[in-house]
């Protein structure tokens, strides 16, 4: 493992399997009467969140507490950032108090890389702009493996806002590394250029993408990042790209439906699909804690020296 986890590209295939296997053991800790082990006692972890987050921040905090780390949360809404402090200055000030790790969520792509260059602390990227969200992809892979027992050779259809999605990028990098066959689909206006260079199939037809799929992964329509008009209306988006029971029926009978949250019901996913028998959306959330425990534990070791 490298010093920081900024991108799935920081991980080798073996690293990914090590994280998933370690997460299996970590999950058991969460099933005990006392859901806490002393492993990271005396370590300080700062959760620095520049964007709103419920799931990811809670998940990291629970993971940190289950490993007995001392954690503190800095929500930007109540911090000196509002007084005009830059990300670098904030980070250097936090760094002066000698934390061991910083978990960073930021609206700008590459924010973690910037901190990585100036900080001694380990940096974990908890989502940077439209770039990556590596722990989400890891927990998605963990959830898929739990249901399908493998990842290689599976057909995974990823549908939604491909342009703004960091979850997409991390998942594509991870799933292709592990040998899954990835299809992505969304409105042409929300397909970033060069996406087909990543070894995946790109189509504007959802119906084609989901045929015989083992896994359907929905992406949220990120209205907060949309300045232009990418599609005529929410209703039209749902008609053309929304995941309905009819579309799910085109996939394999044992398909699983995933969503990284937060869901827009009736926009990218129909309520009866989100709550239906194929949905593993809440299992993804549950698995997030175990996967983040694994990442925190493994990053607490000595980093590999770059050759």
């Amino acid at each position: 493992m490298k010093k920081d986890l900024l991108s799935i590209n920081d991980l080798t295939r073996d690293d990914i399997y090590l994280i998933l296997d370690t997460a299996e053991a970590m999950r058991e800790v969460g099933e005990r009467p006392i859901k806490k082990v002393p492993t990271l006692r005396g370590r300080t972890i700062v959760n620095l969140f520049y964007e709103p987050s419920t799931r990811t921040r809670t998940s990291f905090e629970i993971a940190e507490k289950r490993l007995s780390a001392d954690t503190l949360n800095i929500a930007v809404a109540t911090s000196s950032v509002l007084k005009g402090e830059t990300l670098v200055d904030t980070a250097l000030n936090i760094e002066a108090m000698a934390p061991d790790m910083i978990v960073l969520r930021h609206a700008s792509s590459g924010a973690g890389h910037l901190l990585s260059r100036i900080c001694r602390s380990r940096i974990i990227n908890a989502g940077d702009g439209m770039h990556e969200h590596p722990t989400q992809a890891l927990l998605d892979a963990f959830t898929i493996r739990e249901h399908k027992k493998r990842l290689d050779g599976l057909k995974v259809a990823i549908v939604g806002d491909l342009l703004h999605s960091r979850v997409l990028r991390s998942n594509v990098l991870l799933l292709t590394t592990l040998g899954a066959c990835v299809w992505v689909s969304g409105p042409a206006t929300l397909v970033p250029r060069g996406l087909d260079q990543l070894g995946i199939r790109v189509t504007t037809s959802v119906d084609e993408a989901v045929v015989d799929a083992d896994v359907i992964m929905m992406l949220r329509i990120q209205q907060e990042r949309m300045q232009g008009a990418y599609f005529p209306s929410i209703r039209e988006y749902f008609t053309t790209f929304g995941m309905t029971r009819e579309r799910v029926a085109r996939a394999k009978p044992d398909v699983i439906i995933m969503h990284p949250g937060p869901m827009n019901r009736g926009v990218e996913i129909a309520s009866d699909v989100a709550d239906g028998p194929y949905s593993v959306i809440l299992q993804q959330v549950a698995n997030g804690v175990a996967v983040r425990m694994a990442v925190l534990y493994l990053l607490a070791g000595e980093p590999e020296v770059a050759d």
Partner: protein, 177 residues
């Protein structure tokens, strides 16, 4: 590399320990075996089988990984983190007599970690320690209740317990390192 215990001897030793367990613990209902990963686990299973052969009683058996409780884990980070394997204790340990099983008793630090880990699972009535080999050199006040073989060693030696389930043969050997 001198072999100090062969397969036949190991089999008889386990049978003897199974009898000792039954002798010391009236009422098998409260008993449960917990093996410490890696080699304590197959030893615990074999003891469960030996007890079953004596009195037909199934003693519940679990596996404990103590990595998350190690006292040297975060002191001086050298190299990658040790591998964590799954702890599987599929029964409540509350009010049970737990028979903790490991292959070699040495400094006692593994057992210290195992005791901490077990207490997080509940409040057993008692914990007893079973080891195949006690090689001395304790660094903590810990003592085994059942010992397969006491083996005086020097600090420069290492003791390896090989088991059929993991290593393909049953054997205890001492190595000069």
């Amino acid at each position: 590399m001198p072999v100090v215990m062969d397969a036949d001897r190991m089999g008889r030793t386990l049978a003897r320990i199974a009898h000792e367990i039954l002798e010391r613990n009236r009422g098998v209902d409260e008993l449960a075996l917990v093996g410490i990963r890696t080699r304590g686990v197959p030893l615990a299973r074999r003891l469960a089988r030996a007890i079953f052969e004596i009195n037909g009683h199934d003693v519940p058996t679990g596996a404990l990984d103590i990595t998350l409780y190690r006292d040297d884990l975060m002191r001086h980070a050298v190299g990658p983190q040790p591998l964590i394997r799954k702890t599987e204790i599929p029964f409540s340990i509350d009010d049970k007599r737990i028979l903790l099983v490991d292959d070699v008793l040495y400094t006692g630090r593994t057992i210290r970690a195992a005791l901490d880990a077990l207490i997080d699972f509940g409040r057993p009535k008692a914990i007893q320690l079973i080891v195949m080999v006690d090689r001395g050199h304790r660094e903590l006040p810990i003592k085994a209740d059942y010992v397969g073989k006491n083996l005086p060693t020097s600090l420069s030696q290492s003791v390896q317990v090989h088991l059929q389930e993991i290593d393909g043969r049953d054997e205890v050997e001492i190595q000069e390192s």
